[in-house]
Symmetry: C2
Subunit: 377 residues, 2 copies
């Protein structure tokens, strides 16, 4: 079971950017086009960026709202729990939830900052990325440095500038980078190219893990036009199945043996099957002389255990298979304040899920693995 003195580290949460994140930081001339909040006739508030009003909070800020009252409607900041957008107020929510440390992803900016990837004006977009990172480093995480792990985004449409921005942020204390789980569906070069090497070299050099959150590849599962939303929601996590297979069969982790990767919000119960299947296919294909080859020497499951971490919120199937995955490769997350969050019952759920796990392993999963990976003191 989870020892009572475990200081739970959650490795996937989201901050809701407050209205002034960009307005306080962008150069004066860019503020009108930069992200700012507008008031709609409906009484809701929405973001406006490059003249486009889009980006609701809806299901992004629902922790604690009863299931039957949830909707996807836009809302106002004052209707949210203050902990959504206020790092000090959030500490109380974390205390109620039994969570010691959070790793906040962006929300409006896109989980890997992809809103700025889609921007028309890439000069503005780069400033927006920098402003977000300064906000995370100087304001949000600085509010409680022992409770938040600073994760930054990069202008991933430009690999050199991405490398520079990560270098800049690492010098300011960044401990993680959020990056698309697969750049190919975004129209960018895949992990099978050398394109990303300058960024990955910096990632390895500064020693921060890459967190790949589902949805960041833009690869939303599309099963049928008229399928209920529940189908897509069920399958979102399995986009990470595809991305993990793609990465583990690419040259990236062979070229950069120091890189660690976390797959965020994908849960872990599918990982044993994915590892088994990759190994089976690898056993066949490493002998085939096809045009595009795979590394013939390292079994994908061995590569996984050296480099990759799975994260879970509520996954009994995954916890039961922890030894197959590798107890050292499992992290825990709370997803506050998004729809998957179990707040204020995150710790209680974790305790239940880990009740039959040996104490030492439960503590690794709940705290020690994350502490080592993100170099927390």
């Amino acid at each position: 079971m989870l020892p009572s003195d475990t200081r739970l580290v959650s490795v996937d949460d989201h901050l809701i950017e407050h209205p002034m994140v960009w307005q306080e930081r962008l150069p004066q001339a860019m503020r009108e086009q930069g992200p700012h909040i507008v008031e709609l006739e409906t009484g809701a508030q929405q973001w406006c960026f490059e003249g486009v009003v889009a980006g609701t909070t809806g299901l992004s800020a629902v922790a604690g709202t009863p299931l039957k009252e949830r909707g996807t409607d836009p809302r106002r900041f004052e209707e949210m729990r203050r902990g959504c957008w206020d790092p000090i107020a959030r500490l109380d929510d974390m205390d109620q939830d039994g969570v010691a440390v959070q790793l906040p992803f962006p929300n409006y900016a896109g989980f890997a900052g992809s809103r700025f990837f889609r921007a028309k004006d890439k000069v503005l977009a780069l400033e927006c990325v920098r402003a977000y990172n300064d906000f995370v480093l100087d304001e949000w995480c600085a509010a409680a440095p022992d409770r938040y792990i600073p994760m930054v985004i990069v202008p991933f449409w430009d690999v050199q500038r991405s490398a520079e921005e990560l270098q800049r942020c690492a010098a300011k204390g960044a401990r993680a980078i959020s990056f698309p789980d697969n750049p190919a569906p975004l129209g960018l070069p895949s992990f099978h190219t050398d394109h990303w090497d300058p960024l990955f070299a910096v990632v390895q050099d500064v020693g921060v893990p890459i967190c790949m959150h589902f949805g960041t590849s833009g690869n939303t599962p599309h099963i049928a036009d008229d399928a209920p939303l529940a189908v897509t929601t069920t399958l979102m996590g399995s986009t990470l199945f595809s991305s993990m297979v793609d990465l583990l069969m690419s040259p990236v982790l062979h070229k950069f043996p120091g890189i660690k990767v976390c797959y965020s919000e994908g849960q872990i119960g599918w990982i044993p099957f994915a590892l088994q299947r990759m190994d089976q296919v690898w056993e066949h294909y490493r002998f085939y002389s096809l045009e595009r080859t795979i590394n013939p020497d390292v079994r994908p499951s061995d590569l996984f255990r050296k480099h990759v971490y799975g994260c879970f919120i509520d996954d009994e199937v995954g916890v039961a298979q922890r030894d197959y995955i590798g107890v050292d490769n499992i992290l825990w997350e709370s997803d506050y304040p998004h729809a998957d969050s179990l707040w204020p019952n995150s710790r209680a759920t974790a305790e239940k899920l880990l009740s039959s796990v040996p104490d030492e392993d439960a503590r690794k999963i709940g705290e020690l693995n994350a502490r080592a990976l993100f170099k927390l003191t």
Copy 2:
């Protein structure tokens, strides 16, 4: 362990259609446009249909070929094991493999007959479907009625004719129908519509299971243009994850409570996670008042256990989780003579995989579940 007197029933194999399947059965005027074998300058044989030369055997007929010698090159019929295309010769291969009964899918015709769905001339295509079914019923399975389960295809571009063809074939002894695991990616109405009701009504009425083989939705995983083929191969099975979620969250099995569905060649190790995740999402979404709703009363995992079967070849992860899946919902397959086949070690592998499974459960998985589902005597 698997009792030694278990008569193993494999529920996913492939027959390689011999050169005269269509030429012997199509109306004389259709034979030139119908499928026939042509000799290429390279010395290989290939199929020709509607004037288009395409459709190699390659990896489709490799059972017993050492891994290092396999390729995707076209081959000649006489280079294949005779058991690929000769139902009598195949019996010896089955005996060597320890397999009592096989359920052969098409090969050249497409696993759900989708080559004829893509045909230009739909009058010809309908005749091709009928010819294939007559071949399976009157020739292949008639050669050894106690060793082969007759599975038919339907002209699924036309739901009324599909219903009629299934009715016709059921009267001749068909015991299973092969159907796309998801018609939506083919540009056809999804399972969320009423479009398929006339066919499903016949399926329920004649009492044959629907076998959905991976790849039949045309939904090949596309991860990156330059990803190695091993990535796609690893992920092929997970297309059934998507399809199963889509079907279980559709109205089909609520409207037709007598229908049973087998997911072929998808393995089973992902099913526990899929069921858990569907149930979690269902718990949330059944309360949401969204435009497209899901059945709020029946838990997806309960629906699965009443209607759905998973099939495995070599899946230690899945067998270990058999109780979560439901021992009654698991079938075994050998995939002869395709690339996933372990011939002539299919039974030996099954025995190893099932060695720690109670005898009664191992016999269910290897024989009794399939016997009951396909109404074998």
